[in-house]
């Protein structure tokens, strides 16, 4: 749709994945950008502003797409935006070193009737390969303005804005040249002549585009076409007749015939404008690297080593910062506690708010590091290779190759791991990966296992802990398969994916990515985590004057009320309270056990107290439940943020509770049957 407000020029960036679109966006808008989600979906919406010569531009970075069909959510979003929102110009970012496939989208964008400016990006790479193009001729044949750019070096950005200004001031003459094969063109113009359109035709979208897309079987275009024609029944009949005619003539679906025609047009175009074909195959160097990185035997070991390094960096180096944050937070709490007069307010600030803020900030090092690495892997091109290597194994459990990294990171912490699921393209794959992620046992759960194995299984500690981790993985695999079958039975998750040539990521792009993720976590998930911390503080401290989380506190009452529920698992109310607190953060389970059991036992010693209240069997059941039941509030908040849906979040929480209870009960009963009490 055309924009009529000229005080703020609106530009949409469209292009294939890996065309350098995001780099162009970052170069254009710098730090003046805002990242969010498109309404109702988890596809990223990036928008920024830029000023030049007193004119302000609003730049929207559309999702990376190969075509304007409705194959994926990304395509639907990009198409709907181009159709429905006021736009002054589309900047089509085209990878100059991969023209043939990139121009396929261009042929579709040109039909929209909106001003298109082609940014021929990575022109340096193309020239480095020895490719020579007649840009003037290309511009003339396509009927658009072409700006050569090297976004990674910031070259051509000013020219893009000037080209946009030019188009806005002087107007745009949509190209007329035929882009389909003659027979299809004939059918299109025949339809254009024979369909009568309503008088109040808004012309926001050219009728020609609607006809082409309807012939291609696009439901949205079809709807619009019928709304705009005076006799929808007649239009439907004519479209059907034409589709049939094309199908008979070409022996193929019209959409394929049209796609074929577009590639034919591009082929002809390139024969005209490429004055020297590349002497160096750009992908050749990349292919040599892949001979090693995707090697039959070495590929997966190299990948696993890289993943191990990622894991170490994220959680060891991150852990270093995390410790300092914890020290800082507790020092701040201690200081405030000594300054403020003792009472409810001091307790709220120190134990509720400060602890809550600390609980949020503590995730920042992990998130920042993991996205530093993920951003590097993605921008360099390795992420697509990782998916290629792992797809076979992951596909067996109904997942996509790209699910591996988020799942692996779950062993460190589920919060950044769930955020890492963004690298998956389809909504179904993303949801599946998020839903089973909490079953990857994060490091926060380890102290619980260590405490109990230390007391009850000192002989076979490692085996017992391993069995818990393995149970998590097996449950994840089983849940993944079940969810795929029951929740997304019809969804096809194809693996038709480009392996882009390796390239060096830009520092700016990487840092911006890290900043986006971290700030999003702080603003979206952080607030929820903080609020939950305060609620948990209140449950532990009220009514005022009781021992924190003691038997007479609200949570103590809640625990005792829950006692009948946990009795079938072999627990008493204190275990229930510890698990309730574990919702705040899994680390808290151990300290709560200390207060409840250690405090109440005459010896005051936690080990003796726990040995008195638990048997090896119930201790194991407690570990199983700690593994499965609701991940911490930070994970829940992240699930909410990443799925953008309360129902999926509640589903995740409900599923984990039911599964934990069922597994706990099962283990307990089997243990009793085996005489393990």
């Amino acid at each position: 749709m055309r924009n009529s407000d000229k005080s703020n020029i609106v530009i949409a960036l469209a292009g294939n994945p890996n065309s350098g679109k995001t780099t162009v966006f970052n170069e254009l808008t710098g730090s003046h950008q805002h990242v969010g989600n498109w309404p109702g979906v988890t596809v990223e919406h990036k928008e920024g502003t830029v000023r030049r010569n007193g004119q302000s531009f609003r730049v929207i970075d559309l999702p990376g797409i190969y075509s304007l069909s409705t194959f994926s959510q990304e395509e639907t979003i990009a198409r709907d935006f181009l159709l429905n929102e006021p736009i002054d110009a589309i900047i089509n970012i085209v990878d100059a070193s991969n023209l043939e496939r990139n121009l396929y989208l261009t042929t579709q964008l040109l039909e929209l009737g909106l001003p298109v400016i082609v940014a021929l990006n990575m022109i340096d790479v193309a020239e480095g390969m020895g490719q020579k193009l007649d840009l003037k001729k290309l511009a003339r044949l396509m009927g658009v303005e072409i700006v050569p750019t090297v976004a990674a070096k910031g070259e051509g950005m000013v020219e893009i804005l000037e080209a946009v200004l030019n188009v806005v001031e002087r107007g745009y003459d949509p190209p007329r040249s035929a882009r389909h094969n003659p027979e299809v063109e004939l059918e299109i113009s025949r339809l254009l002549d024979s369909i009568s359109f309503t008088v109040d035709d808004d012309e926001s979208v050219p009728a020609r585009w609607l006809i082409i897309k309807t012939l291609e079987g696009d439901p949205e275009a079809r709807k619009r076409l019928f709304v705009r024609s005076t006799n929808p029944d007649d239009t439907a009949a004519r479209i059907e007749e034409t589709r049939k005619h094309l199908e008979q003539g070409f022996g193929d679906e019209p959409e394929t015939v049209i796609a074929d025609g577009r590639y034919g047009f591009i082929g002809g175009l390139l024969r005209e404008v490429v004055t020297r074909t590349p002497s160096v195959d750009r992908v050749a160097a990349s292919d040599r690297i892949d001979d090693v990185l995707l090697h039959r035997w070495l590929g997966i070991p190299i990948f696993l080593v890289l993943m191990w390094l990622t894991f170490k960096l994220t959680f060891d180096v991150g852990g270093f910062f995390t410790e300092w944050i914890e020290v800082g937070v507790s020092a701040l709490g201690a200081w405030l506690g000594s300054v403020l007069p003792a009472g409810p307010l001091s307790s709220l600030i120190v134990k509720g708010i400060i602890a809550g803020v600390g609980g949020v900030v503590v995730f920042v090092p992990n998130i920042a590091i993991i996205f530093l690495i993920i951003s590097f892997l993605e921008d360099s091109g390795y992420m697509a290779r990782a998916a290629f290597l792992m797809d076979r194994s992951m596909h067996l459990v109904g997942l996509h190759g790209k699910s591996f990294i988020p799942l692996l990171m779950g062993f460190g912490c589920n919060v950044p791991a769930i955020m890492a699921a963004r690298t998956l393209e389809t909504r179904e794959d993303r949801l599946l990966t998020i839903l089973i992620n909490p079953l990857m046992s994060c490091t926060a759960r380890l102290p619980i296992y260590i405490l109990f194995t230390g007391i009850f299984f000192s002989q076979h500690g490692a085996m017992v802990i391993f069995s818990i981790y393995a149970m998590g993985v097996l449950l994840a695999v089983a849940s993944g398969k079940i969810f795929r079958k029951l929740l997304f039975p019809k969804a096809t998750s194809p693996f038709v994916m480009e392996l882009p040539p390796y390239r060096m990521p830009t520092l700016r792009g990487t840092l911006l990515h890290v900043w986006e993720r971290t700030s999003q976590f702080l603003s979206k998930a952080g607030t929820v985590i903080l609020a939950a911390s305060v609620v948990i503080w209140a449950l532990g401290s009220l009514p005022w004057g009781v021992e924190f989380s003691g038997p007479n506190s609200l949570i103590g009452y809640l625990g005792r009320w829950m006692a009948p529920m946990v009795k079938p698992l072999g627990f008493d109310w204190r275990a229930a309270v510890a698990l309730l607190f574990g919702f705040g953060a899994k680390e808290v389970v151990v300290s709560t056990l200390g207060v409840l059991y250690g405090g109440s036992h005459p010896s005051g010693d936690l080990h003796t107290a726990l040995s008195a209240s638990f048997s090896p069997l119930t201790a194991y059941v407690f570990m199983v439940i700690s593994l499965i039941y609701v991940p911490c509030v930070a994970t829940v908040a992240t699930i909410k943020k990443e799925t953008n849906s309360w129902s999926w979040t509640l589903f995740s929480v409900g599923y984990s509770l039911v599964l934990a209870y069922a597994m706990g009960y099962l283990v307990f009963r089997i243990g009793i049957l085996l005489g393990l009490t």
Partner: protein, 250 residues
């Protein structure tokens, strides 16, 4: 008498002449992407009404989709069956000409008769034999039956000429599914079979008829595969590559 593999699986027996029609449709489609009644008639050297009759019968059995005056589409079952017959035909013809030294035309006729009777396992060995003899013959090595038999048993060739590798496509087979090709092979896309979103995506990514490509590699467990097409690298699962009929080129 044993019939074609696909037909046994489906429990539908096809007469020899029906199998010939399927094979002809496949050959026409590989060449032209589209099969019309007149093309099939020319391919088989029969009159158009005979083709129409055969198509109706094949449509009833679920091997083709056919409406009068329209192009002929092979169903997935029909395509698999047709490909199988075509492979048997070429294998036998190559054996008859290359090994037994029969003249081309005679071998063609013989192959048409024999192709209906051979089982997939036998076909597989025949193809390997043709390859084995060709490779060893070129090197002017003596062909020893015992070497070939040990190759069949152990999958390893004493001279290492016929690759015992995980990926093996007999040199005789020139048109097949993309998923059957081995790394290093080049080909052209004949057509993408089936209907629906996956097919459309494949076509949009540049897999249109007559486009050339090269298979670069397979992932560690043999799936997915990576090809170079239209100047870029594309990976796809074997289940997706099953939809792409290709012709091997040297």
């Amino acid at each position: 008498m044993r019939r074609g593999h696909g037909a046994q699986e489906k429990g539908v027996a096809l007469s020899h002449s029906m199998e010939d029609y399927l094979e002809a449709i496949y050959n026409v489609k590989i060449r032209n992407q589209v099969a019309r009644v007149k093309d099939i008639a020319r391919e088989m050297n029969v009159r158009m009404p005979s083709v129409t009759g055969a198509l109706r019968s094949l449509a009833d059995k679920g091997f083709v989709q056919y409406q009068p005056y329209e192009t002929v589409e092979l169903t997935q079952a029909g395509l698999n069956h047709a490909r199988g017959i075509a492979h048997r035909h070429t294998a036998i013809r190559e054996f008859l000409t290359g090994v037994l030294g029969l003249p081309q035309e005679e071998a063609e006729i013989e192959a048409c008769g024999l192709e209906h009777a051979i089982r997939p396992e036998t076909l597989d060995r025949l193809l390997k034999l043709v390859d084995f003899i060709r490779v060893h013959g070129e090197e002017d090595n003596a062909f020893r039956l015992s070497d070939f038999q040990s190759y069949l048993r152990n999958g390893s060739d004493p001279d290492g000429h016929v690759s015992p590798d995980v990926c093996y496509l007999p040199a005789t087979i020139r048109s097949t599914r993309l998923s059957e090709l081995c790394p290093g092979m080049k080909g052209r896309i004949a057509f993408v079979s089936g209907r629906g979103p996956i097919r459309r995506r494949l076509v949009e990514m540049g897999m249109t008829s007559d486009t050339q490509f090269e298979v670069l590699r397979t992932a560690p467990f043999g799936d997915p595969i990576e090809i170079k097409i239209r100047g870029y690298n594309l990976s796809l699962r074997k289940s997706e590559a099953d939809h792409v009929e290709v012709e091997v080129i040297d």
